[in-house]
């Protein structure tokens, strides 16, 4: 009897099945405004509405333009591959600049209270500038404001604070930039008129929903023949992601030419599902993921493009931005900043520096990264 009920319930949901309108956004996308980038690299992008500078300002900072400065970098946590890589980039930048000393120090766990203590101690012991990747955008604000009030320069990277608690933030990737890299890779690997499905965390996870919305907008604009089949949820769960990807493969058969992994969990799990189904080369897997988890699949030629940003470049850029702030060459209202080997980086959203296009890990370069 009880199962009869469950059946009735299930069949009701079946009847209610989804009928999607053509112009409806893909499942898992949010409803916020989208701003797709230009289709080819040469074209100019629609300029987003200019936003006035909304960062903070240190009070009575000593003028150290062109003089040696000492910086401390307090990432979310230390000892993991990702922040080892940002730290490496900072050392490279310090070496290239010649007049910067930077030291990385921080909690061994991604805990905001610990991170605040570290920053507080460095304010007391005295540094010229603080680089940070916040464990919590709001909770970190008071201690950063305290640093500004003591004349210490503050620049964030990777994870932002509220804008007025720091001067600049180096943004590793904008949503539309990631979206373009994902869709372009899929169109190239699967084919312009092929069908794909998406494995995401949940339909309401903010970052994933933003990426999917931008992917939808960019695909409509630049790859209109690419066909979206469906989006499935897989939380941030390895085995569930694998099961969902496998189900998509079994359901769509030959029609399925590509899978997008929207999380660093879903992407390797989708690659595993494709490997187990012996469909490497037939079903393209494109997604956001960290290099270590993807190495087996990239080295086995099952996955060609892993989209992310280069954390070494991120640390490098953050150090150049700090130097430019101290030197006075990056002031509120500026539209770009010189970042050494990375060239000129653009200012976006008032007080953010955009690192540039996302980085694509391939068989050639993936071995150089360990995170």
């Amino acid at each position: 009897m009880k199962l009869g009920l469950a059946f009735a319930f299930l069949s009701a949901t079946l009847l209610a099945g989804t009928a999607s309108a053509a112009d409806k956004r893909w499942d898992g996308a949010d409803d916020l405004p989208v701003n797709p980038l230009a289709c080819s690299a040469g074209e100019a992008n629609a300029a987003p509405a200019a936003k006035p500078y909304d960062g903070g300002k240190p009070t009575n900072a000593t003028d150290k333009a062109s003089k040696p400065i000492t910086l401390v970098d307090v990432p979310k946590l230390i000892g993991i591959g990702y922040f080892n890589a940002t730290s490496k980039g900072m050392q490279e930048a310090a070496k290239a600049l010649g007049n910067v000393t930077v030291k990385t120090d921080g909690p061994t766990e991604a805990k905001i209270d610990e991170q605040i203590k570290f920053i507080d101690n460095y304010i007391t012991s005295g540094v010229d500038g603080i680089l940070f990747a916040a464990n919590d955008p709001v909770a970190i604000a008071p201690v950063l404001k305290k640093a500004l009030s003591k004349g210490i320069h503050v620049v964030g990277y990777d994870a932002n604070s509220t804008p007025d608690a720091r001067e600049w933030f180096v943004n590793q990737a904008e949503f539309n930039g990631i979206a373009k890299a994902m869709i372009d890779s899929m169109a190239k690997e699967a084919g312009e008129d092929k069908s794909f499905a998406i494995v995401t965390s949940t339909f309401t996870t903010p970052n994933q929903a933003r990426w999917i919305a931008e992917m939808w907008a960019y695909a409509q604009k630049c790859h209109p023949k690419l066909k979206w089949l469906e989006t499935v949820e897989a939380q941030e769960d390895n085995n569930l992601s694998f099961n969902q990807a496998t189900t998509l493969i079994n359901k769509h058969g030959d029609k399925l030419a590509g899978l997008f992994g929207m999380t660093s969990v879903a992407t390797p799990a989708s690659a595993e599902a494709v490997t187990k189904a012996k469909l490497c080369g037939k079903v393209a897997v494109v997604g956001l993921a960290t290099p270590n988890a993807m190495k087996p699949y990239v080295n086995a030629d099952c996955v060609k493009s892993v989209v992310l940003w280069n954390p070494v470049d991120l640390g490098y850029a953050a150090t150049y931005v700090m130097r430019a702030v101290v030197d006075g060459s990056l002031k509120p209202g500026a539209t770009s900043v010189d970042a050494g080997k990375l060239g000129k980086l653009n200012v976006v959203n008032g007080s953010e520096i955009l690192l540039g296009s996302p980085f694509i890990f391939t068989k050639q370069n993936i071995k150089d990264f360990d995170f």
Binding site: L3, E233, N243, T247, N292, K295, P296
Partner: protein
């Protein structure tokens, strides 16, 4: 002593078994009926490959639910099992990447599982602290401990031979499915026919009567938890060896899925009733529903709702059945 136990437990269970058989039969019908219904909608669902994938990807839940069913039958509950499976997978994977013999890496998960669960059993049975409190504490310890020790770093580069779940017996039967079937049958026979297996029902059904029959309640509970730890270890091995990476975090909501399998399988949350055949069938049904929802284009939002409905319906039916039996 043993004869007294068996005689004491016999009169009632004979009646109960009829009901239980129907519970399992219902689940079996549901598993087959759903497969046919979805197959009519989308024939690809019935492809051998898909059916095998559904079983393969979820066998670890059924294996863990075998232990969970024993715990619930004994009148207890364990909400630490999901976290424990995460920890055991990490222990096993860490040993494997650091060059320990593969068999040692596998055994470590089983041994550690037994130790952690037996410890909880001792605290529950001898210090008389409710299982929900003890296992909630353990859940926090394991969850926090795992993230502290690993820093959330994934285990990669696992040796090829580590992947137990990749083994196919006779070239067709995936090892996880084989293990699920064997574990279920052996555990069902043991619980049904052995004195110590029957003791679990006695302790969970009527602790006082069990004591009068000479069954040591604390010893039975420790034994149940130790066995549960063994099954959690086996589940962790299937879980850890399915993919090339181990996440080093606690799988979200895994304990809830496992408890759901037991409860929907007909294991009474009040203790004393239920079989592992029911819980394995329920684990298969839940996995099948998850896959069916994708195949029938139903929004995945429904999966949790459907699971919730299954739990509520089963528990309400169980309570009603008990009232009827008490009234009769």
């Amino acid at each position: 002593m043993t004869t007294a136990t068996l005689a004491g437990a016999e009169a009632n269970p004979r009646r109960r078994l009829k009901v239980l058989a129907s519970q399992e039969a219902l689940l079996a019908i549901a598993v087959i009926g759903l497969a046919i219904a979805v197959g009519l909608y989308n024939p690809r669902f019935l492809a051998a490959r898909n059916l095998s994938d559904v079983l393969l990807g979820n066998a670890y839940i059924a294996v863990a639910a075998v232990g969970m069913s024993m715990v619930i039958v004994s009148g207890n509950i364990d909400i630490s099992v999901g976290a424990l499976i995460g920890v055991l997978a990490t222990i096993s994977g860490t040993l494997a990447v650091n060059g320990a013999p593969i068999v040692v890496a596998w055994l470590a998960a089983l041994v550690a599982g037994v130790l952690v669960m037996a410890l909880q059993g001792v605290i529950i049975a001898y210090l008389r602290i409710p299982a929900i409190v003890v296992t909630l504490g353990m859940l926090s310890i394991l969850k926090g401990g795992l993230i502290s020790v690993t820093g959330g770093k994934w285990i990669t580069d696992l040796p090829h031979s580590f992947h137990l779940a990749d083994i196919e017996l006779f070239g067709v039967l995936p090892f996880p499915v084989f293990l699920m079937i064997v574990v279920t049958i052996l555990a069902a026979l043991w619980m049904r026919y052995s004195a110590s297996g029957r003791a679990i029902y006695a302790v969970g059904g009527n602790a006082e009567a069990a004591r009068l029959c000479g069954i040591s309640q604390p010893r039975t509970i420790v034994m149940v938890f130790a066995l549960h730890g063994f099954f959690a270890g086996a589940a962790a091995l299937l879980y850890a060896t399915q993919l090339r990476v181990i996440q080093s975090t606690v799988p979200p909501n895994l304990e809830l899925t496992i408890i759901t399998a037991s409860v929907v399988g007909g294991v009474s949350i009040l203790g004393g009733v239920g079989t592992v055949i029911g819980s394995t069938l329920a684990a298969v049904l839940i996995a099948e529903i998850a896959s069916a929802l994708v195949f029938t284009d139903v929004s995945p939002y429904w999966i949790r709702a459907v699971q919730g409905v299954l739990i509520l319906v089963t528990v309400i039916a169980d309570i009603l059945r008990r009232r009827r039996m008490a009234g009769a």
